[in-house]
Amino acid sequence: MEIDFIIFNIPVIILEQGALAAGFLASLFYIRALDLRAYGEMIKDAAIVGAIAMVLFVPIVGLVLKDRSLVFQIERSLMLVGAVAVGRLHISGAVRARVGIRILWRLALVGISETFAFFFFPEPQRNLIVLVVLVVLAIVFALEALLRSGEKLDSIGSKIMGAWPAVISRAKGRQGYLMFFLVGLLVLLPFEPFINSENPFITDYHLGTLTQTLIYILLAMGLNIVVGLAGLLDLGFVAFYAVGAYGYALITLHLGEFGIGFWWALPITASLAAFAGCMLGFPVLRMHGDYLAIVTLGFGEIIRILLVNMIDFTNGPNGMSAPRPTLMGLEFTRRAKEGGVPLHEYFDIPYDATYRYVFIYLVALALALAAIFVFRRLREMPIGRAWEALREDETASKALGINHTTVKLSAFTLGAAFAGVGGVLFAANEGFISPSSFTFVESAIILSIVVLGGMGSITGVIIAAAILTLLPELFRDLQQYRMLGFGLAMVFIMIWRPGGLIKVRRRAFVRRDSARGASNPALGEAD
């Protein structure tokens, strides 16, 4: 190793340690296991350990051999001391919270290993190592938390109902912590190239691909409503995606002069797609299974063929250009169109094409998270329950007074609205759209994401979306076998996990009020 291997990248360390500490504190918040005194003790404990580390590190690390003379560099040892103190905080918190100790242990290991990487590896390798460690640990955490909580609920659940509250709150605490950690990571991810500008690990290409993944998550959430919850097999979902994308391009083309840009187009186009969904819903109200699949397949093709043939309106197979999104009217171009102001001029910073990728990525992330949130809520709402009831037994749900017309239409409408938003993002991300982006293959991919992930499940669908969009990017050389791979994956999933990667876990209800057992007029007398 060369002598100048230590290059401090203080912002990165602060950022990452900060994120870890924040994730950790959030987990404590969710667990609600600690009172203020425990926090105080933890901080005191960390301070003591930090002081010991200081004594050890300052003479060893603080002295650097430079040009044949020793130079005293206090900040190096301070960073190490900080890392040790934060790590100690992690561990003592883990011990005190008594929840997910192993996970928090590993969290501490992230901090330590990262800090290690920062100190002892030269720049290019360091980034790689940190990222690999982070990604691997994130995946391990995700899988462990999900698999474990699921297994607990299944095996113990039916036997000891009394233990439900405990099991649930544990699962919730872990999930909340995990969510915070992953979301924090995803939010911070695109800023890596700015901090680490000499040799960024994350390039525009990566951001573009991740944006596409997020768009697929958004779409899959929409289709998850239609297929997963309402049980309506929709093979033409891409039609609403196309309506969204073309809606955005056309609205900004024709109404751009009235100041209708990306942000206005978003709700307008979502309602447009929702309307299209409603229109498809009417003729297929009485259809089930195969027949429904054929009609929706046809609908998808109709929209695509319309886009190809309405040359005056959509420019046919030549496609249309779609404007890039703006931030409060600031553009992400080097030179603004007339009347516009580019972002870098406004803030007086040098132009960087990455800003645009970061921005679209963040917008896509926000919208995907919003979609996940809405889907989660929908699943627990009366309408979500009605969708599932309709899927399970349409006649029985009608006999309970559920209006199957409105319930089915609302599934199509809301699902299509999600797809419309996805379409706008797609158009804004690509900058150019043509009918060839909206073929049946696209529908098939979205459907396979939902089926592979587990119909109605959120985590499963997110994982499946990530796998199905990132793997083809990684194995671009094998592109011609992509469909083969999809098919194989589908077959194996159907054999091994017919419910999808992660089967939906039903929401558990806990009896809260004190009236428990007070009323059992009919059966109480029997024994």
Partner: protein, 294 residues
């Protein structure tokens, strides 16, 4: 108390088969009324007419509620007839409400099925929450943002669901998927689900099928309790004479799609036509035991 259901000359024909032939009977409010008859007599068909699953070829079924009569066999055309401007609104309303099954349910008729039709992949308590769909706040935005009103209505629905689960002794299995429950529990859950809709009239299609003696006694207690405490009219199809004769206020006997006898359990038991339908003519040497079981 007047009648809650008036069935008048209801006939239904499936192709050449006359499944019901001018069936007429009345049912008093807050009565337990049983419909019995040999297999293929048309009992379930009659139920399906009552709950909107089938449309009778002829005849009318009137449901009386709060002093008003509702014709179950006719679509609700009256509301927009004679109002030219209301045609479109009428069309839309018709589109959204004219489904007779759904409409009957809204009038307060609830039912269970001969072959259990629970929402198998939903938990017991979710089944009961679905049943309350029309009484909870199902506005989209208030649900997504969980407004206080929405949370209140959900809480109320949950309380009601727990009440009926406890009523049927199902509170321990509330979070188990309905399809994984034991058969007897599924039957009870279906009854609880029907009750969660707050019906006036509940139609039970062979509620005692497949239950053991203890379970049947529990069921009898539950049904009597529904009438006495919850002021509900119960119409039931049953083969199990222990249920029919012990708890019914009136019994209607169907055979080959026709009402052959009607009256209190004691009257019906003595009616020679009933004995003939069940046991056959004296000359015939049909094995009586097996026909009774059927």
């Amino acid at each position: 108390m007047g009648p809650i259901v008036i069935v008048e000359k209801v006939s239904i024909r499936f192709g050449g088969l006359l499944a019901l032939n001018e069936v007429s009977f009345q049912m008093e409010e807050r009565h337990i009324q049983a419909i019995i008859g040999p297999n293929g007599a048309g009992k379930t068909t009659l139920f399906n007419c009552l709950t909107g699953f089938y449309k009778p070829t002829e005849g009318s079924i009137v449901l009386r509620r709060d002093g008003k009569s509702y014709h179950l066999t006719q679509p609700p055309m009256g509301s927009f007839r004679g109002n030219p401007a209301g045609w479109m609104g009428g069309f839309l309303r018709n589109l959204f409400t004219s489904n007779p099954i759904h409409r009957t349910a809204l009038l307060g008729v609830s039912r269970t099925y001969q072959n259990i039709r629970l929402f198998a992949q939903m938990t017991g308590i979710e089944n009961l929450l679905v049943a309350q769909h029309n009484s909870v706040n199902h506005k989209l935005l208030s649900g997504i943002f969980q407004t206080p009103g929405f949370l209140r209505s959900e809480k109320k629905a949950l309380e009601k669901a727990w009440y009926w689960l406890e009523f049927m002794g199902l509170e321990d299995t509330a979070n188990i998927e309905a399809g994984n429950l034991a058969y007897g529990l599924q039957r009870r859950l279906e009854l609880a689900r029907a009750m969660a809709t707050s019906p006036r009239l509940i139609c039970l299609d062979e509620p005692a099928a497949g239950l053991n003696r203890q379970e049947i006694e529990d069921l009898n207690r539950v049904i009597v309790n529904l009438r006495n405490e919850h002021k509900i009219s119960v119409l039931l199809i049953e083969h199990h004479m222990g249920v029919v004769m012990n708890i019914s206020d009136r019994v209607v006997v169907l055979d080959h799609g026709e009402v052959i006898s009607e009256g209190t359990p004691a009257e019906v038991q003595k009616d020679p036509r009933v004995i003939k339908a069940y046991l056959g003519e004296e000359e015939e040497d049909a094995p009586p035991q097996s026909r009774r079981e059927a």
